[in-house]
């Protein structure tokens, strides 16, 4: 694969064309000079960020407050934002995730994890589980409950939200490769437990 092909793949990865991402970078430049222009990005990504935070809080009002704080921090930190050819949304997701983590550090609430039934099936399949039984589902749930909050973030981003490793890396502040390795390490952990129970 050539460098250009690899770059094109990255650019198309989050369902945005090269042109769209370039236009976005122009809006970012304008917003650096005139903060009012940030409104375009706010309107474009508000819903996505809201849903992202809502999945982790399970409450619209809490999500609303966190999202407002996240956008405010993004506006303040915009001069430091470096355009790397990736969508601006990944940077926003990173800020929103930091805000969610801060919220849980400050409050004594239990961390909310939103899972669709199909996500559990996908995890069992990824871990090489032979059959998708109720027993296996229960086991996966029990295993998920033992994960650290950092490990859970990988599971949420990869299996519950179906994000690309490049995006996961960008959100969690690491390389694509590192994100992949860390995710599969958790899957290996899951696989070992599933293997043990099946034998």
């Amino acid at each position: 694969m050539t460098l250009g092909q690899s770059n094109n793949q990255d650019l198309n990865r989050y369902h945005q064309s090269k042109e769209q991402i370039f236009n976005e970078s122009q809006i970012i430049d304008e917003a650096r000079k005139d903060p009012g222009r940030f409104g375009i990005l706010y309107e474009k990504y508000y819903r996505q960020i809201f849903v992202f935070v809502f999945r982790r809080t399970g409450d619209e009002d809490i999500a609303g407050d966190i999202v407002s704080d996240a956008f405010l921090k993004a506006m303040v930190a915009l001069p430091k934002f470096e355009f790397k050819g990736l969508p601006f949304s990944a940077w926003l997701f990173r800020i929103a995730l930091n805000e969610v983590n801060m919220y849980y550090r400050k409050s004594s609430r239990e961390r909310v994890v939103s899972i669709e039934q199909t996500n559990i099936s996908d995890m069992i399949a990824e871990a090489g589980g032979e059959k998708e039984s109720e027993e296996n589902r229960q086991l996966v749930m029990r295993l998920l409950a033992t994960l650290t909050s950092e490990e859970m973030q990988f599971m949420e981003l990869r299996f519950f939200e179906k994000r690309a490793f490049a995006e996961i890396g960008e959100i969690l502040g690491m390389t694509e490769n590192n994100a992949k390795v860390r995710t599969y390490r958790i899957i290996d952990k899951l696989k070992k437990v599933l293997d043990k129970t099946s034998t």
Binding site: P35, G36, F38, G39, Y42, E43, Y46, R47, F50, V51, F54, R55, G58, E60, D61, A63, G64, D65, V67, S68, F71, L72, M75, V76, E110, R111, V112, V113, S114, I115, E116, Q117, M141, L144, A145, T146, S149, M152
Partner: protein, 101 residues
């Protein structure tokens, strides 16, 4: 205890709630307050604050002036009464002087 609350097949957020929280004006206002704190902004930019502060200063000056005047007046009165008492005492002394002799 795991510390997680698993929401299996969660409902999507309500659209009216999303719309309720979507307010760029508020974010912009907070941004301006954060990046241009009051102590860094010239006071004349806030007309109402500037005028009310000016009014408070003028009233405070007038009260101080009035209080000062009152104090001075009282001081003068005191001085006058002392002087008057002194002159009366002197006059009495002068009147009693030849009789005593």
């Amino acid at each position: 205890m795991s510390g997680y609350k698993f929401n299996i097949d969660p409902r999507p957020p309500k659209e009216d709630k999303i719309a309720e929280h979507r307010d760029f004006g508020r974010v912009m206002h907070n941004y301006q307050r954060m990046t241009n704190p009051l102590y860094l902004t010239p006071l004349y930019r806030y007309r109402k604050v500037f005028l009310s502060l000016l009014l408070v200063l003028v009233v405070a000056f007038l009260i101080a002036e009035y209080a000062d005047e009152q104090k001075q007046e009282q001081k003068n009165l005191k001085q006058d009464s002392i002087e008057r008492a002194d002159s009366i005492a002197k006059r009495i002394k002068q009147d009693q002087g030849p009789q005593g002799r």
